[in-house]
């Protein structure tokens, strides 16, 4: 499903954010990516949805090589991947329903399909009652649920989450994790960068530790922890 081979990334300012990363993530896996700030977690995540490109090496997602993917093809890759952000990235002028429908409008889905899919996914994240509300009327947890709904409305095979609970209180974080578990149980691969030790140690999954741009530990049913 996701294969990174000898991935090396150096930014123009000289910072090496990936220094020979090799990793394979199978279909349906749930993977935590942990590590200290500045260790290269975000670059690792961003390279998966092609916001960053590796300086050398290859990244394959569903047999597409992201390192050589032409810019014109990037939108079609992103339609196969759902992305959830720490800061939600919702459009303030659109209500909950419209924010989720937006992801289907850009791929020019029919209005009938949009209605059906958006209502289904809002039911899944428990926001049916708040469909007409705007982001600034919602709590942080609710906004993150909208963001998750938007990421999965297109039924992607992979969901990539960059610290999705980073801005949320502990109780809300558990609720969000329950939704991710539910999505994973339907066969969707989930790659999640996180700093939340309690979650990683409680809901056990594969843990990849990134430090200094390298994978220093990769354990199934692992626990949170790194040296620095």
């Amino acid at each position: 499903m996701i294969v990174m081979k000898d991935v090396y990334k150096k930014y123009p300012n000289g910072v090496v954010a990936a220094n020979g990363i090799n990793v394979k993530i199978a279909r349906g896996e749930f993977v935590y990516v942990v590590g200290p700030s500045g260790a290269g977690k975000s670059t690792f995540i961003k390279m998966m949805y092609r916001e960053e490109t590796p300086t050398s090496g290859s990244i394959m997602i569903n047999s597409i090589n992201l390192a050589t993917l032409r810019s014109k093809r990037v939108p079609y890759l992103r339609r196969q991947i759902g992305v959830v952000f720490q800061d939600f990235k919702l459009l303030p002028k659109l209500n909950v329903y419209e924010n989720v429908a937006f992801a289907l409008e850009v791929i020019e889905e029919t209005p009938k399909q949009i209605r059906k899919k958006v209502n289904d996914v809002l039911a899944l994240v428990g926001l049916t009652q708040k469909a007409r509300m705007f982001p600034n009327e919602l709590s942080g947890g609710e906004q993150q649920r909208v963001s998750i709904a938007r990421s999965i409305v297109n039924s992607p095979k992979v969901v990539i989450a960059d610290e999705p609970t980073g801005n949320l209180d502990p109780d809300t974080s558990w609720d969000i994790m329950k939704i991710f578990e539910q999505i994973n149980s339907r066969g969707t691969t989930i790659v999640m960068a996180t700093h939340n030790k309690e979650i990683v140690n409680t809901i056990r999954h594969r843990v990849i530790v990134v430090e200094g741009g390298m994978i220093t530990r990769d354990e199934y049913e692992g626990v949170y922890g790194y040296e620095s």
């Binding site: 949805y49 939108p75 992103r78 339609r79 992305v83 990235k89 937006f102 992801a103 850009v106 791929i107």
Partner: protein, 272 residues
């Protein structure tokens, strides 16, 4: 977005429009001056009627000649009398002048060459065409046309930068929206379309005031001044087709600038 951008389009198109009106009319003046240049061929007073007839035919057949108008020696003398006074009446007894041919070249810039060619024919006393002066005149006219064109182009470029900057400022506010669209899989053209449509709308709105002002002002100017310029070298371009042409040009420029401005401004945000 709209107010700042529309006013930018309005101000610059108004300037461009006024400039175009001035330049087109100056161009018309230059054309008139050029078309007024003619060669006067004075025949040898000793030449008889048949000789002059043959000469006229020869001149008419010369390459680059557009029109030839014959004026007899008596008509020439009458012209002199009306210019210099009745004292010249005594020449009516024995007219010393030759017949004259007034020749216009099909391309005024080739007047000198045509005159030189005619000068080689028989039965000619003199060929006059303002030698030296018309070359200078043509140089001045060509230069003023080029300067005018350069000014219009410079103004258009300024307009484009001004407008694309104004649009960019307003698009910065929508940078987040574009970023999110790109992250959920929107293609560049999908993102661009609404901004380009907005650019077209903005261009149309921005060209309305300049079109109105220029049409009204030129129509007024034309109706007031045209009768006074009846017999002058400088003629205003006729109002009806000219106003429509300028309006079409302004509308086209407004729309073009709007599309171009949106295109350039969105481009930066598409690299997500």
């Amino acid at each position: 977005m709209t107010f700042a951008s529309v006013s930018a389009v309005t101000v610059t198109l108004l300037l461009v429009g006024v400039f175009i009106v001035i330049m087109m009319n100056l161009n018309q003046l230059a054309d008139n001056i050029e078309n007024d240049v003619e060669i006067k061929v004075i025949t040898d007073p000793a030449a008889d009627v048949e000789d002059v007839k043959l000469l006229k035919k020869e001149v008419q057949e010369t390459a680059g000649v557009a029109t030839v108008i014959y004026s007899s020696r008596d008509e020439e003398l009458d012209k002199m009398i009306s210019s210099f006074g009745d004292e010249l009446n005594l020449y009516k007894q024995s007219n010393p002048l030759g017949d004259a041919l007034y020749v216009k070249a099909s391309n005024p810039h080739e007047t000198a060459e045509v005159a030189a060619e005619i000068g080689t024919y028989d039965h000619i006393y003199q060929v006059v065409y303002g030698e030296g002066k018309i070359e200078k005149l043509f140089n001045v006219l060509t230069m003023s046309r080029n300067v005018g064109l350069a000014l219009i182009l410079a103004l258009l470029f300024t307009a484009m930068f001004l407008i694309s900057n104004t649009i960019r400022l307003t698009i910065v506010a929508r940078g987040k929206e574009i970023e999110i669209m790109k992250l959920v899989g929107a293609t560049n053209s999908f993102v661009r379309i609404p901004f380009v449509l907005e650019g077209i709308w903005l261009g149309v709105l921005g060209s309305l005031i300049p079109m109105g002002v220029i049409s009204f002002a030129y129509y007024e100017l034309y109706t007031q001044w045209e009768p006074k310029l009846q017999n002058e070298l400088f003629q205003l371009l006729s109002a009806t087709p000219f106003i429509f042409q300028v309006n079409a040009l302004l509308l086209f420029m407004g729309v073009f600038i709007g599309i171009w401005g949106s295109f350039m401004s969105v481009r930066k945000f598409l690299r997500v």
